[in-house]
Symmetry: none
Subunit: 251 residues, 2 copies
Amino acid sequence: MLAAARKHLLLDRLARDGRIVAKDVAAELGTSEDTIRRDLRELDAEGLAVRVYGGALPASPAVVDYAARASVAPDSKHRVAATAARLVTPGSTVILDGGTTALAVTAALPRDLDCTVVTHSVTVAAALLEHRAEVIVIGGRLFKHSAVACGAGAAEAALGVSADLFLLGVTGVHAEAGLTTGDADEAAMKRTLASRAADTYVLASEEKIGAASRFAVLPLEGVTGIITDAAAGSAPMRALEAAGAPIVRAS
Amino acid sequence: MLAAARKHLLLDRLARDGRIVAKDVAAELGTSEDTIRRDLRELDAEGLAVRVYGGALPASPAVVDYAARASVAPDSKHRVAATAARLVTPGSTVILDGGTTALAVTAALPRDLDCTVVTHSVTVAAALLEHRAEVIVIGGRLFKHSAVACGAGAAEAALGVSADLFLLGVTGVHAEAGLTTGDADEAAMKRTLASRAADTYVLASEEKIGAASRFAVLPLEGVTGIITDAAAGSAPMRALEAAGAPIVRAS
DNA sequence: CCCATTCTTGCATGTTTATGCTTACTCTGC
DNA sequence: GCAGAGTAAGCATAAACATGCAAGAATGGG
């Protein structure tokens, strides 16, 4: 049985029964309990389940739905998110963008970290419910595609914020086009958020490098760092380095 | 049975019955009383319950309400939610409160209904991502216990809203105490939202009837209707009817 | 097509955790 | 203040756990 198929089945069970007992599933699938435990550990790391002694329980339903839709290679995202999460220091205020990579940051953030998180993403906010961090939601008209609040009201609310750090998600990081995203309002919102933070770091998982979308957010040099784990030698990466992009290597 | 699931069940019972008797639950679950006592001690340490001699009592109602959110919504909630969802007409603007019953309303709402939903709950907002409805999020400081935005900023944002309908969630509907909830800020926010809608209906699933929490939201006659499916002949219901509460029967 | 590399899986190891039992103590109501 | 129910704490045991390791499968370049 394929590992991916097994994980899907586990998520199905979780949705159907509301719980997973590692021993039972292992017996049913004819695999070892260790394998199931490993799977559950990974699903927990991805924020799709909550690991408990003996098995697993569902994560917050909204988060699961959203994250499952973006069924992409989680490794790259995960490494980038972990690196970004380490930038969040106790007591600091961080603006967290929307999107699946930002969602991965919430999973990588220690639950007992005392900090303030400002976000315009309802899924990010929901994912932080079980963290100690103080959460400030920026309201506005909800953009269904990316689950973030945008528009005039949101921008106005954002102007009241002053943060130490902004973790920015984009859809493209390109040597010439700079940092881009797929929607004009979102791009404007991201710019506004960037203006409210002392430092801005881009969450650039592998597939974003070399890509460009229609709407410019910021030029490459407009941010403090671009966190990525894309292979250093690849053509787009060399182009970015030649363009003077402040690359930060994820690990 | 998973230990974590058992704790969820305990919280469920606490929300439903208002108390837990260690001996009874132990017998019912087929575990030792010690295990239940240990669980209750831990829930108490986490602030989710108050340990008393013989069992446990709910902590602040708001806290328990939130913690039980992962558990299965009883039929009563669904019936109330379905009735409430039918009040939402195409083209209208509805303010949807936070809480598990409001969440059930999102599930009962047709996905292709063209309307505008205003909410201060991030979980409600996330649940509406796949609906056609336009969603406006009211931002502010996130109140972790119930996943809603509260406070000065949220109230201010709410003042800019004008809606046809407000679906209000509370923790208690009592003949004398009126409509109540477990947190002062939340109560104020609910009042503000009620003032922005032409009609206000209360989502009063069975367990809310006859219950009272610490903070008053509105008097019984301050709302257009109280949607419930509690048995008509019960004592609390007769008291409510005698007090002139505008009961609407769910079906 | 083959070999090297990587990934997955299951097993053995030592460690941690949950649970029920016992015992001695505490609380509550009479 | 006394009886009985309820309780915390310690202890033993079995289950669940993380980790390292090795065998087999999958993958990719030559």
